[in-house]
Structure formats: C-alpha cells, structure tokens
Amino acid sequence: MGRLTVNLCGVELDNPIIPASGTFGYGYEFAELYDINMLGSFSFKGTTKEPRFGNPTPRIAECPMGMINAVGLQNPGVEKVIAEELPKMRQHFHKKVMANVSGFSVEDYAYTCERLNGEEDIGWFEVNVSCPNVHGGGMSFGTSPEAAAEVTAAVRKVTDKPLLIKLSPNVTDIVSIAKACEAAGADGISLINTLLGMRIDLKTKKPVIANKMGGFSGSAIFPVAVRMVYQVAGAVNIPVVGMGGVSSAEDVIEMMLAGATAVEVGAANLIDPFVCKTIIEELPRVMDKYGIQNLSDVIGGAHHG
C-alpha cells in the first residue's frame, strides 16, 4: 500500500485522482499523451439508454477562471458503449473504471445500469442526477430528495457494484438530498456537478451558448465545491467523492480535508491534458510540505477538533 492509496467503497485506488465524466471521454485521447493506468480510475463519458447527439453548438463559453458547457450528454448510447467503446477503452486502461450514467426516467437509469452491470471492469456506478443541460429530465431528479432516492433505489435493485450518486449544487439543501440517497441504498455521494451559468455576447447581444444556459465549471467553483463536500461529508456515513474546480495537488488535499475519499478532476483536463499526471506526481512533494504521511489520513481532517 502506497502513500497515495485510498479505498473507495471497498475498491482500492492507487491514488485518489479520477478524471471527471465528460472531460476524459473514454480515455483514448489522453492515452496518446501518457499512461492513463497511473490514474486512480476515471469516470467515463455520461452514458444514456439511447444514443444522444446533445445540444446545438456553440456549446462552450469562457468565464473568468472557468468555462460553461452545454454539451447535453452527447454519447453513443449504452449498447454501443458496451459493444465498441469499452473494448477500445480496455486496450488503454486496465483498472476499474467508473461508469457514469444519466437518464430521463427512473426506468432509464435502471435499464442502463443493468445493461452495464455485467462489465467486469466497471468498479463503481456514478449515477448523474444532476446534469443541468437536458430539457425535461436530468435536473429534476437531483433537485428533490424524493426523486434522487427513487433513482437510487431503482439502480440499487439492479447492481451489487458500489453505487455513487452524483449530485447537483443547484439546490437549496444538498445535505437532505445526500441523506435521502444514503437511506435509499447509495454506497457513496459524488459532488459537485456544474453550477448553472450563462454568458451573453456584447457584440451579438445574445447568449453565447445555443442552449442559453450551461454548466459552469473550472477553478472559479472550487470554494463552492469544498463547502458542499464539507457539508455532505459531515452529514452522511458513506464516502464522498469531491470535485469542482480541482486543478492542483494542493486542491486535492484541501478537498480531502473537507471530507472527500477520492477526488475528481474535470475542466482542468481540457486546458492542461497532463494535469492529472502532474497532480499525481506532485502529491508526494506537497504531502511532505504539509507533514502528511499517508493521504488517506487527511480524509475529513477539517471536521475534527
């Protein structure tokens, strides 16, 4: 067991670094650049029952220290993911991968997870009840404790693999939603998804993004994410995967002090494709600087005393 090892819902990770869903595809583009097996794991592109093209373009807008995206869950659908993407992914990545799943009905979520459940290299399900980009679906499950619990319970019935529910920050009381998921059988909570945001172009006087609004991510949202991870980790008895604006080894340690067992890195991958490799390589030095022997020792450290 190394200094960076953590245990996420019974599965050991060499380190807590997990590229976040939607910023890493199925890993191929990054495998051209470095050996992605150095990662703890990665969360693959959000998968739905049916293929989806997603939203019209432009889908991207820049913000101070961040960006907005309204991709809209573009993915080839679960059957093609199983038949084509996962076999291709296996050529590059030989560890347990996190399966990120989205849906537009409780049945969708259960169906997609059930289809993926037979894939041995899926270590965890990360069920996204929070994507803000999809009209008439995604958002609503993550914004009420009852709906989030309903999705959790439905997926719980179809899998024995560790089940994480990925929560939206665009709610008034994230703790009650996290607790409802825990009560419904979740093995962990991952948060935060993007914050709903918008930019308007002064030249055209119209929204920059075709979908008008989108998910705001990047360094700017880091303090919001730390706060929400801290609140949720203090209220549930299951592991928390922290994410939102993480871009350095220092950010990873801060997120773990707030209560995260593992840490996802999202938008930063799009700006610096080597960022996860850099973070993993930097962690021992930064741990030394702050007198940390084993990374797992700092989980939730900010809650004590």
Partner: protein
C-alpha cells in the same frame, strides 16, 4: 498531439487586424496542412485554437485576426516571450484526394491554412489556383506569398476596391479538378453550391479542449457525429450536412 513551449520569433501586423506570429519549438506533431494549434494565454481559462499557416523545421507560422480577448492579447506579445502550445490538432487537409489542378478558396482569416496547403500541393507537382476573398483592399494579405509559391492567384473584394469585385465564388476559374476551402460559413455554403467537383471544407467552431475530449464542438455529418476539433476541422463535401 504534443504539448510544447514555443518562443516568439516575430509578431507583426499584416493589416489593421491581422497579425503574423512566427514561433520556434517542437513542430513534429504537425503532420498535415489545415491542422491547428491551441494556445494557453495568461489570465484566460480556455486555450485559443489557431490554424497553422506554415510549419518548417521547428518554426511555426500563425496568421491570426484580432477578434476577441485572446487574439488581442496575442497581438501585444513581444519577441522572446513564450507560449504553451498544443500542436498537431485536427485531421488537416488530405492532399492525396486532389487531382492535378487544385482550386483553393479562402475567405478572410480562412486564408492562412491554405498557404501550407498550397505549398504541399505544389511540392507534389500539382497546379494550384488560389482565390482569396476579402471585404476591402486594406484587409488583403498573403497575395504575394501565394504567388511566390507558384500558385495562380486571384483576389476578390466585396466592395471592388481591389481585384475582382464580389465573393470568391464570383472568380472561380474555368477548370479545376478538386477544391479545398476555408472561410466563414456563409462563404463555405456558397462554395458548396457553386463548385462542380469534390472538395474539402475546413470548419470553425467554439471549442473546449481542442483535442476530442469534451464534445464541445460536435456536428452532424452524413457519416455520423463528428468533433470539429478531432475528426475535423476538415470535412469532405459529400459528408457535410448543413444546419444540422
């Protein structure tokens, strides 16, 4: 794709708004004309994708138009300053599909990638005719550079202040057996309608990453969904679906 640190050798205006920047660094990932690079700039979150105008022996030439914060910042950079650049992005033009007489149609800031393309085609022994379209005389750039390569060059201006009055499609040569184009989308649509052969189009889209990870720049094509940054920016005429 490679990430590298490049040093600015020159950065000079060609017109009021168009600049030419030459950078020194590892250009080994650049394998075809029509590819682009993605540049990190201080204080801006997203990288800025810029098409490759030319690339020779570790020297990368970019011709860019100041259109926003990023390109404005680039225009103020000095010789010796360094930039973090992702190189070798996009598919680029496939010159193997061209016949013996290629027509290159460029509009405004769509002109630069055609320079390395013309150079490549001429090196392959092909005849190259180029039509460069601009709004007005003082926006014209790179006419002499294309001529120096040995291309037949026609310039059009919308207001008729220089060259042929009108759009690039008003100055199509009588014969050519393949075409390549890059420019604003209305121009690309006009080229699509007015050309008689097969050809390749280079598209522009707002990008997140520029290397295929985020799906920020997807488009629908006859052969399925494509990412402008990774599967493009060049699409063949037969695979284009307009406004899809």
């Amino acid at each position: 794709m490679k990430q590298g640190i490049f040093t600015i050798l020159t950065n000079q205006p060609l017109t009021d708004t168009v600049y030419r920047m030459v950078l020194k660094g590892d250009t080994s990932a650049i394998t075809a004309p029509g590819q682009f690079v993605n540049i990190k700039l201080d204080g801006l979150y997203l990288r800025r994708p810029i098409s490759v105008c030319d690339c020779v022996d570790g020297e990368l030439t970019l011709v860019y138009k100041v259109v926003g914060k990023g390109t404005e910042q680039m225009s103020t950079m000095s010789v010796g300053e360094q930039l973090d650049v992702l190189t070798g992005l996009g598919n680029g033009y496939d010159t193997a599909l061209a016949g013996s007489h290629a027509l290159l149609l460029g509009g405004g800031v769509g002109v630069p990638p055609l320079y390395m393309l013309a150079k490549t085609l001429i090196a392959q022994g092909k005849t190259v005719s180029v039509v460069l379209g601009f709004n007005t005389k003082n926006e014209v750039f790179y006419e002499q550079e294309f001529k120096a390569l040995g291309a037949n060059v026609t310039v059009t201006t919308v207001d008729g202040s220089y060259g042929v009055k009108g759009f690039v499609t008003d100055a199509l040569p009588a014969s050519y057996d393949y075409f390549f184009t890059c420019g604003p989308e209305p121009m690309l649509k006009a080229v699509y309608k007015n050309t008689v052969t097969e050809g390749q189009f280079s598209f522009e889209e707002r990008m997140g990453c520029g290397f295929g990870a985020c799906m920020g720049c997807s488009c629908k094509t006859v052969t399925g969904y494509k990412r402008i940054c990774k599967d493009g920016p060049v699409l063949t005429k037969e695979e284009i679906l307009w406004d899809a």
